[in-house]
Symmetry: C2
Subunit: 223 residues, 2 copies
């Protein structure tokens, strides 16, 4: 019974995800769905990424939170358009919410939309938002056992960002083990070791993200 209900919800979600995907394609906009636990550094990564990329790409942000507009306010200070979705307690964004949020953005003027999902390493991974790629963020202070315990987020992502690498000397985090586990779950994942505090490793992430956006635009223009 519960399974049937879940299937209906996902089926419904997939209809909206297809609509989102079509709207993004029509406007040649690339979309990234950022997933990770509360406090792994999603909003800090967003702030750094906006600063680094906003001269090169026209970007906007969709912020998912249970309550509050704290993250949207942080992003707004970076000077890009931002739409806040409050799920009112709901543990993930769904494609219907994202489809509504797109109404508030001038899609024809954008290259990239970054969606910051609700802080949760479990539920967001189950819902297609119509994005081009998912990325998973994990921080060194969460422990190296997390990929195997929360595999779906890593299996469904194109990239994983291992944040707070500057705190490595103060933790007992096993970097070798986590890399091995991540590649076992998803051999084609791009793994970035970063610190949003010291900026370590972020240039590789920026370059890679720009390449993904450009590749999508190029594909669209030549087709």
């Amino acid at each position: 019974m519960e399974i049937r209900v879940m299937a209906n919800i996902l089926e419904n979600n997939d209809k909206y995800a297809a609509a989102v995907r079509q709207r993004l394609a029509d406007n040649k906009v690339f979309a990234v769905n950022m997933m990770g636990s509360p406090g792994c550094g999603k909003t800090s990564l967003l702030e750094r990424t906006i600063s680094a990329l906003q001269n090169e790409l026209k970007l906007a942000v969709i912020e998912g939170d249970l309550f509050t507009a704290k993250d949207a306010e942080r992003v707004e200070r970076c000077g890009v358009p931002v739409v806040q979705i409050n799920t009112g307690g709901g543990c993930h964004l769904d494609a219907n919410m994202v489809n509504s949020a797109l109404d508030s953005l001038a899609l024809d003027k954008l290259d990239l939309v970054i969606i910051e999902n609700v802080g949760n390493l479990v539920c967001p991974a189950e819902f297609d938002l119509g994005e081009d790629i998912k990325v998973a963020i994990l921080s060194t202070t969460e422990g190296e056992d997390k990929p195997l315990k929360y595999p779906l987020a890593f299996q469904k992502s194109s990239a994983a960002l291992l944040n707070k690498i500057d705190l490595l000397p103060y933790t007992c985090f096993d970097l070798t083990a986590v890399e091995k586990d991540i590649y076992k779950l998803n051999p084609s994942l791009m793994l970035f070791k970063i610190s949003c505090r010291t900026n370590e490793g972020l240039n590789y992430w920026y370059d890679w993200l720009i390449r993904q956006v450009e590749a999508k635009n190029h594909t669209k223009e030549s087709s």
Copy 2:
């Protein structure tokens, strides 16, 4: 439609929660439901708490995880009975799962059952497991904005443990702000500042927990 389904699920859950509560009361067993994000330190806290309390209290553990028995194996090494629940991707424990897990424990020989919920600061807070108290665990590396962004876990808990206090000098965590926000959400919450790595502050938690268990037993004997 979705709301009605959710109501049915919760109603069903509450029936099982009542059954769990009755079984615990019949056997004078105190139960704690531990909630927090992946990597906040739930299993480390369990390990420390078992070591400190196992001469004083007869305790057992119910481990909730999506997949793997990694945490149950860690707890088993501490020398107490442990039952692993794998939710198979499900984002929280429910009372039906806990009720089944109790079948594997000799309840008449126990004083305390600690339930480690799935690593998730959102969904577990919505489900009554029949426990006596919920406790929320937050770590300093997650950032001080978390209580207001994920209020339910703090509102429903009797205690909050602020873990990784030893990493405070290496983060920009605002301790004063988080304390203010936590007490705004729940003025009667007990707040413990701890480090499972250095053992800082853990004695206060042990003493408080023992008092809760003893109070429950005392109440039962005199009624």
